[in-house]
Symmetry: C2
Subunit: 341 residues, 2 copies
DNA sequence: TTGTACGCGTTATCAC
DNA sequence: GTGATAACGCGTACAA
C-alpha cells in the first residue's frame, strides 16, 4: 500500500533523484543505458510518479469539470460522451458532477471543482439557476477573473462565456410548421420552465410559425409544463379535466410529450387520430414508444465535442478571448405521432 | 487567475503561515479574534487551501473512482446516484469513467484512477473483461495488495473483493415461472453474453423453473443475444427468418426485450397475443413502451448505496477484510406484455 | 498563543 | 551526463 517514490528508486540504483526524474521526462540529456536501466527498475519496483507532487508544481490539474442537472435521461450522458471524446484525446480527465436540478447543489459542485483546481468547467445550468442570482454572479465572477468556462444547452446571457446551444427557435418553428402542414390549426405548446432561455426561444419559434400561417397567437396556447414525464402527465390531465383540448401539441421535450401521450392513451384518445404530438430533443424513447414520436433531434455528441473544443481553445488562449455562441443545427424526425390520418 | 496562497494571507495580516493554517484547521489553540480575523480576511481575498498540497501531505485523495461499461441506459446512472448519495455525505468525491464496453479502455480507466490516487474503486466490468485475463489479473493484484475495490452487477469470481449483485438466479426463476403460470410452455431465453456471471445465473434460473414444471430443458431454448436493443432485434429477426417461434420469451434485459418487440410488431405479431415477453433490469422504457413490458426490477439506487458503504467500510478497515458478496432482492413488475389473453 | 523549520514527491536550475 | 538543491503550498512538531 505504501507508495514507491522517486527516492526509493534512486536509493536502489545509487543515483540521484534528478537522474530518475530525467529518465521519466526524456527531454534532458541522459545516457540511453542508464535511462533504460532506470525505467526497467522503476517498473519492476512498481514506481509511478506521484501526480499530486507534479500538480503542486505545475498548478494545473489536467482535469475538466462537467456539471449537469441530471444524467438519468439520455441527453446529458450523450453530450458527456462527446465531451469525453475530445478531452480524453487531449490528455484531460473528466470530473462529472450532477446538480440534481438544485441551484444550491450546483453551486457546491462548482466550488468543489474549483477547489480541485480543474482547468476548466463545462456546465449546463439547472432551471433554478436563473432565479438564483447567486449562482449567476458566482459564475460571472469566475469568467471575468479568467477562469475557462463553457456553457451548453441551458445557458445564461448574463454570463460572458463561450456557449454551445441548439437553434431552438428555428426548430420549434419548423416543428410547428410541420404540424400546420399536416392540417392542424389548434396547436398548444407545452413549454419548458420559462427561466430557461431555450424555453423562450422555442416559444418564439412556435409563435412565429403560427403567425406566418395566419393562425391567431395567444398566451393561452402556452402551458408551462416542465421537463419530466410527470410534468407532461400533470398538464395533460389538467387539459382533459378542463375539456380544453387542442388538435396537436408541440412539447418542449420528449419526456413531457411522452407524459402527455400516456395520459391520452389511458383515457382512450388516439394519437395522432384525436391529438397529434411532436416532441423535442430526440431521445431513445421517441422511436420506441407507441405510436413512434415525431421529434426534433439535437446533435448531442456534437454539442459535447464543440463545448470541449471551445474550452480547450480558451485554456490555450491564456485569458484573451471573445465569448462565442455556437449555434448547432438539428433535424426533425417525422414519425407516426404527428401524421394526419 | 493566480491562486491566492496561505503566504499571501499571512503577509497581508503580518503573521506567520502556521497561524493561518491553524485558523483553518481549528484543532489547535488559537485566539478567537485572530481566528475570526484570519477567516474573514481569507474569505475576502478569495483564499482557499490548495488541495494538491494537502494531498501531497496526506497521501490520500478523498476521491473514489467509478468505472462503468456505459451510461447511456438508465441502469448505471441510477446506480451512480446511489453511490453518490452515500459518498458525498462521507466527504468523498466521485470520478466517473466509462469503458465503452471495451476491456482495453477499462484497463486504462483503472490505471488513470490509480494514478490519481483515488482511495478506492467501484467497478462494473465490461463483458469483454472475462476474456481479457489481463484486466482480471490486474484487478486481482490491486485487491491483493490491499487496494479497496468493490465490484457490482458485472463481477468476476476470480477477484477476491466485495461484490454487490442481484439475485439473478431467483428472479429469472420467478420470471420464468410467471410465464409458465400464464400457460406458456414453449419459452425461449434471450441470454446475455455468457462471459458475464449474471447471464449464467439467469440461464440457470430459467432452466430450473422449466424443470420444476416438467418442461423439457434444452440448450436450443437459449439464444445468446447481447444487451442492446439492436441485439434483440437481430436475434428476433433470425427467429422469424428461421420460422422458429416460441410462445414466450424471457429476455436478459429490457433493451433486448424491446428490440424483439420492435421486430415482432413490425411484422404484425401481437404481444402478448402471439408471443409474450418478459424483460429484466427494469428501465424507464418498460412502462412506456406499448404494450407495457413485464420486467424484473433491480434496486439500482440501493445497489449503488450498498457498494459505496462496503467500500467505505473497507477503506476504514485498513486492509483487514473478508470479501463479502451482498445479494440484493428485486421485484417482478407484471404488465401487459406477459399476460395470457 | 504564536512563530520557525522541516517534509510530503516532483521538476528545474544550477553546478560539476 | 549527472548530482545537489530550491521551489510548489500546506500541516505540524518544536521552540519561543
Amino acid at each position: 500500500m505504501k507508495h514507491i517514490t522517486i527516492k526509493d528508486v534512486a536509493k536502489r540504483l545509487n543515483c540521484s533523484v534528478s537522474t530518475i526524474s530525467r529518465a521519466f521526462n526524456d527531454k534532458y540529456d541522459i545516457r540511453k543505458e542508464t535511462r533504460d536501466l532506470i525505467l526497467a527498475t522503476a517498473r519492476e519496483m512498481g514506481y509511478s510518479p506521484n501526480p499530486f507532487a507534479k500538480l503542486l508544481l505545475k498548478q494545473c490539474s489536467n482535469q475538466i469539470g462537467v456539471v449537469v442537472p441530471e444524467f438519468i435521461n439520455s441527453f446529458f450522458p450523450e453530450v458527456i460522451k462527446g465531451i469525453q471524446d475530445v478531452l480524453q484525446k487531449a490528455g484531460y480527465q473528466l470530473l462529472i458532477m450532477q446538480s440534481n436540478e438544485e441551484a444550491s447543489v450546483e453551486l457546491e459542485n462548482i466550488k468543489t471543482l474549483e477547489n480541485n483546481m480543474v482547468d476548466g468547467i463545462i456546465i449546463s445550468l439547472t432551471f433554478e439557476t436563473n432565479f438564483e442570482t447567486k449562482n449567476i454572479d458566482y459564475l460571472k465572477n469566475m469568467v471575468e477573473s479568467g477562469f475557462p468556462i463553457v456553457l451548453f444547452n441551458r445557458v445564461s446571457d448574463a454570463i460572458p462565456a463561450h456557449k454551445v446551444v441548439f437553434d431552438d427557435y428555428k426548430w420549434a418553428f419548423f416543428a410547428t410548421e410541420h404540424l400546420i402542414y399536416q392540417g392542424y390549426k389548434k396547436i398548444f405548446h407545452f413549454s419548458g420552465p420559462k427561466t430557461l432561455s431555450f424555453s423562450q426561444n422555442r416559444i418564439n419559434g412556435f409563435f412565429d410559425a403560427l403567425k406566418k400561417h395566419k393562425i391567431p397567437v395567444s398566451e393561452n396556447l402556452i402551458f408551462e409544463t416542465g421537463l419530466m414525464i410527470k410534468d407532461g402527465q400533470r398538464v395533460m390531465q389538467k387539459l382533459l379535466d378542463d375539456k380544453n383540448l387542442p388538435e396537436a401539441i408541440l412539447a418542449v421535450n420528449d419526456p413531457s410529450a411522452i407524459g402527455a401521450m400516456k395520459i391520452l392513451k389511458r383515457n382512450g384518445y388516439k394519437i395522432p387520430g384525436d391529438i397529434a404530438i411532436v416532441g423535442f430533443t430526440e431521445s431513445k424513447l421517441a422511436e420506441l414508444i407507441d405510436p413512434p414520436l415525431t421529434s426534433v433531434a439535437q446533435p448531442t455528441f456534437e454539442i459535447g465535442q464543440t463545448a470541449a473544443k471551445l474550452l480547450l481553445e480558451q485554456i490555450g488562449s491564456k485569458g484573451i478571448f471573445v465569448p462565442q455562441k455556437v449555434v448547432l443545427n438539428g433535424r426533425l424526425n417525422v414519425r407516426e405521432s404527428s401524421m394526419k390520418l
